[in-house]
Symmetry: C2
Subunit: 309 residues, 2 copies
């Protein structure tokens, strides 16, 4: 299995357009000991010929432009991207669909609730279905297993399993609308198993670490894990106000109940934090927080990384 | 008046993600005699301290990142962008609003019909109004004149005039919904007059050239004009199918009734084509079409240009 990390930041990216926190300011000044990052985008492939996107970042247009594996190979139009799997309806994970709007045929897999939000409550997504041969929407069920066979890789299917994470719908969804939807369809993690048995765990948003999640992470070879915030009160520390990490659905990295301590025993060959918020001190590679994750065996994803498992 | 051209391409940009037309293919191969372009984005300012955006491109996050004049100057959060004027509800002109979603206060000016499409038919735009101090929506009327005073430039206001262009709503708006809206609010051009009387005409989508439009263009010092397509049948020529330029609301550059012939007599010091589609032969600077626009006194906008008038 080939895994591309085309972007590794949380919503807004790093730097964030209107933020002058120390991280963003030093990065703009060119003196930051760390790297800029586009919004999280992952692509996977069994054969490097056809690619599956995990979510669709608002930066997807430039992320595709920068990677020749994702360029069209047909004479007039085409794409090696066969499908997109959505784990939620969060803007930083769905807006990129609208950059894939030019009469292209591909499949979008999402829960019924996420599809309702996008297709019933947002007319802009009708642009993906202007002609009959355009986007096919496919229902996925929490805790379902699905075998995906790419056209160019018939003998090397992926098996994807969707893990429901207890969560809520994005803040742009009204409470009335949320009450009509199925809460367990609001947020998924994905475990991808290759034909040879290699397992990738993709969990960019983790509201809580429970026994079921631990079981999935324990069996994974490579983990892409929610690394949005270092501390639960990070936004309050940096901006002087705001919600806690847990209030907006992210277990922080640090703390007694944080990711580092809770996920100490995993056997994965690579444990990688993704979806890093611009305020997170681990972005600065001279901090003790960055050293701390490295010493604990974790890596901080960088845009452009490619893994094979 | 300072005018930044942060992007100059039509929707999809150049290259376009799934297009392998000769322009896109040669550009990707590194042998194209011309430049890549992000989606059209213009910013104007009287003092270079505060900036007004004309429309909001899907590429806005990187367009802001690349221009230090648009970076925050406040200690924690802020932006020199005070307002955004929308000329239509087309995706390549509105999606960038969603990149400005981080609790920032600014004003969005749009016709009532465009606001209805965005705010009533698309829940994603609720993200701009999560807190009370965030985005203020302001109605604009076709053929209205409006004086805009930026906080840092009280003595140098702009006067903006909105010119209704006979058009239709974007294809993602259903015929039923369109029938409830006001067609003359579907597409505007903008004429910006500075305190010293300099005039910028911003017409990125022009469905037809009539006497009223000619009058506005005649009085302008700098014209940013719809240069989407060279030929009326360009999409059909390049892709083998598709609508004509005029069918989708763009007067082509060439032809007896095209822009070059119809706008021969203008007195503007600079006449610049913007919103260039990836299929347009003028993008290739070795073509006779590119020579032809240059010889007629027109320029092809490039990302990063800055004009003062």
């Amino acid at each position: 299995m080939h895994v591309k990390i085309l972007g590794s930041a949380a919503g807004g990216g790093f730097p964030q357009w209107n933020c002058a926190c120390p991280n963003c300011r030093l990065l703009r000044e060119g003196t930051f000991p760390g790297k800029a990052r586009a919004q999280l985008q992952v692509a996977i492939s069994s054969d490097r010929q056809s690619w599956i996107l995990l979510n669709a970042s608002p930066d997807l247009r430039s992320q595709i432009n920068q990677d020749s594996d994702l360029h069209p190979r047909a004479a007039k139009r085409g794409t090696p991207i066969t499908s997109v799997f959505l784990t939620s309806a969060e803007l930083d994970q769905v807006l990129g669909l609208l950059s894939l709007r030019e009469f292209q045929s591909f499949r979008v897999y999402a829960t019924r609730s996420v599809q309702k939000i996008l297709r019933e409550d947002n007319s802009v997504f009708r642009t993906l279905n202007r002609v009959g041969s355009q986007v096919s929407w496919v229902d996925i069920e929490p805790n379902q297993k699905l075998t995906v066979t790419n056209p160019s890789a018939e003998r090397e299917p992926f098996q994807l399993e969707f893990i429901a994470l207890s969560s809520h719908f994005p803040t742009y969804v009204s409470p009335e609308r949320s009450s009509q939807l199925c809460a367990r369809e609001s947020l998924l993690g994905i475990v991808v198993a290759s034909a040879s048995g290699a397992r990738l765990a993709y969990f960019p948003s983790v509201p809580a670490i429970d026994a079921a999640l631990l079981k999935h992470l324990t069996s994974a070879d490579v983990i892409l894990m929610d690394g949005t915030f270092w501390a639960d009160d990070e936004l309050i520390q940096v901006r002087g106000e705001g919600p806690t990490a847990r209030q907006i659905g992210h277990v922080p990295i640090s703390g007694d109940d944080g990711t580092l301590k809770r996920l100490k025993a995993l056997r994965a060959t690579r444990k990688i934090f993704v979806h890093i918020n611009n305020t997170n001190p681990v972005l600065n590679e001279s901090t003790q927080q960055f050293r701390q994750i490295c010493e604990a065996g974790w890596e901080l994803a960088e845009d452009g990384w490619e893994l094979t498992l």
